[in-house]
């Protein structure tokens, strides 16, 4: 354990890290507390809370200075009293309401000490207080007997001393030791130590009073006393909560204990260092580099949203230049196709949509975005424009963004999700239970945008207010998590300045994380727009370095994309090594990325030689009005207007989609088109071998193997029906093309 500064914690743990089989009751106890404090996930029957001990509190109490915020509230949290299933619910329980997880001690104090004229407390005989008589089982209590005698005694002392909220100290820091732990095998247990550092200079070991929640009980257990048990190989996380702070502890255990040796090719640039370090820690051997043909297909789809032409593939494969992959990346980054595709990706991320029926405003926004991408504009400048733009949305496209929303609250949620990668939404109704966000932050950010008039001409009226639901008064404009804004300045200016400042911990992380997800198939934080203390990145150091690199490169997208595409991690084969563990997040092999509906539709058009028609636009990625795509590409699961879409969302092609792909016009009409590629080849009397080879090259960027080719010739040309031979063969060739356009190798970017 790390030495701690300041006064010594009152209780030291003697036990070194040890490994032993799990005791049954530990599992049960920890799962009970999991349920008690994490009711949204696994709620017990009614209010099951837990009996607790609180050695550290007793010590605090003996000092004669029991503090409401830092002693009493954590005690109520540990007992589960303020969980959402109990008194922390928005409606309270049995007429008694506490703030969720003690997020608002002022509210809790009012509830306990003042509500109903203070009838919950008995100052003459503290143990007779309702606050104590119920949870200790002396009066009937729906939640049962949840407070230990020790805890009850501390509360009684506090009442005895006048039940004041004197705010003796504030919690400055919560230090958890260790924050990460590498087990050598499973099961392995290790103790946590949680130390609270207070504003009055005191520190206290709060290991027994803190709350622990594993994100995956099956893989990681934390018992009431902070003993962590790693049960499965991999990387796992638990959250630690005390008072109003929440942090995480991570543990890894290798999939295979033997040392992993990495070939030299496993490192191409700095991106590979943290990736490889994690692979070594987890005992995962990376797959080798993908073949040239795979690489050209992969990088073309990622950077331009298009399949490479067979000519380009052939040129690339036969090129003997050692640096041809790097050069290809540069060539694609400089292409117009890159601008089109990344405009589409950014428009998806920014949820560009038509405000009501105003198509011109949406087109103006798309034009603006396209020009920014073409000119390699800085992302911080793009973000500034989004926040600050005003004026006629037919001329100033960036201002259209303000018209996506009916209310300033919606806009605040959008800005935090799209530009910061965080979800403030929970803090609308209560302080965010899993992060630092408070209702002040949520309604304060809404107040930043409240003055906007959202018509065709967007302007700041300087009027309007957001009602804070707790106080009923107007919410003060606020930089989330930081400070209230003075009235003298335009709050949007201040928000924009704060957001894009190099020291902002969210802005560069959010965008570099999205670019990473787009290229690598999984976000370092997943979901990518849910950055929070309790959802740590799989590779924190890598995310920091990507963000630093992005900021240092003037927030330009192309250099960041170039770095990622030149890493060994990006170059890996998508075929895992024989017998490798199933890895979906450590990048030991490339993840197969399902093609988005738009890219897939365009690819189908390119392969069949029949272009699309989306209200006059021939490529789906160039369509601005997504309602057109929603209608025409429903079977492929397009990103709907106004919705946040993720990599996951596009792979949800269910039964109705499959019916459409088989029976609908999307593919059938293109396959059967007499001017389409297949029928032109048939008309030219091409052999089955030629046809199969051509479509393999177009669709999969590789020729068929000998076995595949022989198989297709056999399947298509063998005639058992001489009468209808020609017709049958046409049908079989069409069916071959149908299958090719539906197979995994085609519909994913491998």
């Amino acid at each position: 354990m790390m030495p701690l500064g300041g006064p010594k914690p009152m209780r030291r743990r003697a036990s070194p890290i040890y490994s032993q089989p799990l005791r049954g009751n530990e599992v049960i106890r920890s799962s009970i507390i999991m349920m008690a404090i994490y009711p949204f996930v696994l709620r017990p029957l009614r209010c099951v809370c837990v009996l607790i001990g609180c050695g550290s509190l007793l010590a605090a109490a003996s000092d004669g200075a029991v503090d409401f915020d830092t002693d009493i509230v954590p005690l109520l949290s540990k007992a589960g009293c303020n969980a959402a299933s109990c008194h922390g619910s928005t409606a309270g329980q049995g007429g008694f309401r506490l703030s969720l997880f003690g997020g608002d001690p002022e509210f809790d104090y009012r509830s306990i000490a003042h509500e109903f004229a203070g009838r919950r407390l008995n100052h003459v005989n503290p143990p007779q207080s309702l606050l104590l008589a119920k949870p200790t089982g002396r009066l009937e209590h729906g939640g049962g007997e949840v407070l230990s005698a020790d805890a009850a005694r501390v509360i009684a002392e506090w009442i005895e001393a006048g039940a004041k909220r004197s705010q003796l100290r504030k919690l400055d820091r919560l230090v958890v030791t260790p924050t990460t732990f590498a087990a050598k095998g499973v099961p392995t247990s290790f103790p946590l130590e949680v130390v609270a550092h207070f504003s009055d200079g005191t520190t206290r070991d709060v290991t027994d009073t803190a709350l622990y929640v594993s994100q995956n009980d099956a893989a990681l257990d934390v018992d009431l006393s902070g003993l962590v048990t790693v049960k499965l190989a991999g990387q796992h996380t638990a959250t630690v909560r005390f008072a109003d702070r929440v942090t995480t502890v991570g543990a890894t255990s290798p999939f295979s204990p033997a040392g992993v040796s990495h070939p030299k090719s496993a490192r191409q640039n700095w991106i590979d260092d943290p990736i490889n370090a994690k692979l070594v820690a987890l005992g995962l051997t990376p797959a080798g580099a993908c073949r040239d043909a795979e690489f050209v297909r992969r990088v073309s789809l990622d950077l331009t949203g298009r399949l490479p032409s067979p000519e380009r593939v052939a040129r690339f494969v036969t090129n003997v230049d050692q640096s041809k992959r790097t050069k290809l990346v540069d060539e694609l980054l400089a292409s117009d196709e890159f601008t089109s595709y990344w405009t589409h990706l950014l428009a998806t991320q920014l949820r560009v949509q038509k405000p009501a029926t105003d198509a011109r405003a949406a087109e103006a926004m798309d034009d603006w975005l396209r020009a920014e991408v073409a000119g390699d504009a800085r992302w911080d400048e793009i973000a500034r424009s989004l926040i600050l733009s005003e004026g006629d949305t037919h001329a100033n496209g960036a201002a259209t963004v303000h018209r996506f929303f009916a209310t300033a609250r919606d806009e605040a949620e959008y800005m935090s999700e799209v530009l910061m990668g965080v979800r403030l939404r929970c803090a609308n109704c209560h302080n965010h239970p899993l992060d630092r966000w408070t209702q002040d932050d949520y309604h304060g950010l809404a107040a930043v945008f409240v003055g906007l008039e959202r018509g065709q001409v967007v302007r700041d009226t300087g009027r309007g207010e957001i009602t804070h639901p707790r106080t009923g008064a107007a919410a003060l404009a606020r930089i989330p998590g930081e400070r209230f804004l003075t009235e003298s300045n335009d709050p949007r200016d201040e928000f924009a300045d704060w957001l894009v400042a190099p020291e902002n911990p969210y802005f560069a992380h959010a965008m570099s994380g999205r670019v990473w997800e787009s290229l690598m198939g999984r976000g370092l934080v997943s979901p990518v727009d849910d950055v929070r203390a309790t959802n740590p990145p799989s590779h924190p150091e890598l995310l920091d370095r990507l963000a630093d690199s992005f900021a240092a490169g003037d927030y330009k997208l192309r250099p960041l994309i170039r770095e990622i595409c030149n890493s060994a991690a990006y170059h890996r084969s998508s075929t895992p090594l024989e017998g490798a563990p199933n890895d979906d997040r450590f990048y030991s092999h490339a993840l197969a990325k399902p093609l988005s509906a738009e890219v897939l539709a365009d690819a189908i058009g390119d392969v069949t030689g029949v272009t699309g028609d989306y209200a006059g636009v021939s490529r789906a990625i160039d369509v601005v009005d997504r309602t057109v795509l929603a209608r025409q590409l429903a079977a492929l699961g397009p990103c709907l207007p106004g919705e946040a879409c993720s990599v996951d969302a596009v792979s949800q092609r269910g039964i109705a989609s499959q019916l459409h792909l088989m029976n609908g016009g999307l593919i059938n009409a293109k396959i059967g088109d007499s001017n389409g590629r297949l029928h032109l080849l048939i008309d030219l009397d091409q052999s089955t071998a030629d046809i199969v080879t051509e479509f393999y090259l177009l669709a999969l960027s590789r020729p068929p193997t000998d076995a595949e080719l022989t198989g297709w010739i056999e399947a298509i040309d063998s005639q058992d029906d001489l009468q209808g031979a020609r017709r049958t063969r046409v049908a079989r060739r069409e069916d071959f093309l149908w299958a090719l356009l539906n197979c995994h190798e085609f519909t994913t970017n491998n």
Binding site: M35, F40, V41, L42, R43, L45, A84, S89, A91, Q215, N216, D217, A218, A219, L232, A233, F255, S256, P257, G283, R423, L434, D530, S574, T575, P576, P581, N582, D583, D584, A592, S651, Q652, R653, G654, I655, A656, S657, Q658, L659, H660, M662, N663, G664, G665, N668, A715, R732, D735, F736, W738, A739, L740, N742, C743, H744, E745, T747, T748, N750
Partner: protein, 436 residues
């Protein structure tokens, strides 16, 4: 020793096995020691999207002040002491089949949140998407039958459209959405009929070609949830029995009229056909219940310009009573659970537009068939229809009840894709009056 990390599929299999052992005994028709009373093989959920007014349907307050009572009165039913809205005379006449729960209560008064809670039995959380009851049933029942085991008519766009029915389960348990309104002339299930020129022989050939191509890829262990969906779609499009089940042309005009010409009626008729064909879970999604204004038009009279001006409640009354009596006549009522609910109730006091706003604190649900003892009212709201006066029942309790009636142990453990165990239902207690 190397540990192989379990993948999504492994967990799904584990989950499936656990479920087969723990929960599905009775659905599969095997003896089940713990669920002796289970009779329901199928469930029809009639979802009233938007949040139906309890005061204008199952929990009228005829003696309250005007602003609470609203524009309609109450009528007696076939069971003494039970009164329901005067807009539901057909349901009232056969209330002996129906149990009404009048003390439903939830804290969630927003469509999306309320829908999630009622549809899954879990309050929504950003941490985990829970599956709809229908998707859980489908998950425990998968791989059986030619028709998908979870069908939504016409679709499952509920709660404002953001509800993801499979939750943490595989996308293959998403409901099959028939995609059209059975009440429109020439109704066909979308894309069920083949593209011109694509005969059955070609469907089979395409499938075999596709398997050939994907077989090449199998070595890559790429996880493709689309496979299960493709196989189900294939069974559906090549099965004459499945196509027949979806074809309302088989029903006589008299039967069609019996259910009423509105969407909800023909959806219920199609639901009955699907249940007859062995589909374990059918959701009928009926929109328009978010009645913030003009209750008289919306709930009773219908819009005067409409071809057939009838409001929501009489349409429900006709469809529901026809469904119950039809199932009963066919001997299917005992093994078919019918549940009618929405995401919340409506405000006890009329608003200024003669409508009612969202009100989750108390609302009503009705159930019939599947062994539910009818002719009873469970719980009560207070005099204003404002709060539960007695026996509060949460959506979690309701979900546990539905699972229990379907022979699924609420304690059955399912697994998320990353291996986290989650109970089918962990927040509720089955309603003892209903599950016996």
């Amino acid at each position: 020793m190397p540990h192989r990390r379990l993948g999504r599929r492994d967990f799904l299999q584990v989950g499936g096995l656990a479920a087969l052992g723990l929960g599905l005994g009775s659905i599969c028709g095997r003896a089940n020691a713990t669920a002796s009373a289970t009779r329901a093989k199928s469930c029809i959920l009639i979802w009233l999207d938007g949040g139906p007014s309890h005061l204008e349907t199952l929990d009228p307050k005829p003696h309250a002040t005007n602003e609470v009572r609203g524009p309609f009165g109450a009528i007696a039913t076939s069971v003494a002491g039970i009164e329901i809205s005067e807009l539901m005379p057909l349901t009232a006449a056969s209330i002996e089949h129906t149990a009404i729960v009048r003390s439903m209560t939830s804290p969630l008064g927003e469509h999306n949140f309320g829908t999630h809670y009622l549809m899954t039995g879990y309050k929504p959380t950003p941490a985990l998407n829970y599956p709809a009851i229908g998707s859980v049933v489908s998950h425990l029942h998968r791989g059986v039958g030619e028709i998908p085991s979870h069908v939504a008519i016409p679709d499952l766009r509920v709660g404002g459209g953001k509800f993801v029915a499979p939750g943490y389960l595989s996308t293959s348990v998403a409901p099959f959405e028939v995609g059209g309104d059975p009440a429109t002339a020439g109704f066909r299930v979308r894309d069920l009929d083949p593209f011109p020129g694509i005969v059955d022989e070609r469907l089979a050939r395409r499938r075999s070609y596709l398997q050939q191509l994907n077989g090449v890829q199998a070595a890559a262990e790429v996880i493709q949830p689309a496979d299960a969906a493709f196989e189900q779609a294939y069974r559906l499009m090549t099965s004459p029995a499945a196509k027949r089940a979806f074809d309302l042309a088989d029903e006589s005009d008299a039967t069609k009229r019996r259910y009423g010409g509105k969407s909800i009626g023909q959806c219920c008729l199609l639901a009955r056909r699907l249940v007859e064909a062995g589909v374990p879970f059918v959701t009928v999604n009926n929109r328009g219940w978010d009645t913030h204004n003009d209750l008289v038009t919306r709930l009773k009279e219908g819009y005067s310009g409409a071809k057939d001006p009838v409001g929501l409640v009489p349409s429900l009354d006709l469809a529901y009573s026809a469904l119950i009596s039809d199932l009963s006549e066919r001997g299917l009522l005992d093994e078919t659970l019918v549940v009618v609910m929405g995401e919340f109730g409506r405000t006890p006091k009329l608003n200024t537009q003669a409508g009612r706003d969202h009100w989750p604190r108390v609302f009503s649900v009705m159930l019939a068939g599947g062994g539910v003892p009818g002719g009873q009212v469970i719980g009560a709201s207070d005099e204003q229809g404002e709060s539960p006066a007695d026996r509060p029942v949460t959506p979690a309790d309701m979900a546990a009840t539905i699972y229990k009636l379907l022979g699924i142990d609420p304690a059955t453990t399912l697994y998320t894709s990353d291996g986290r165990p989650v109970r089918v239902s962990s927040e509720g207690e089955p309603i003892s009056e209903l599950v016996g």
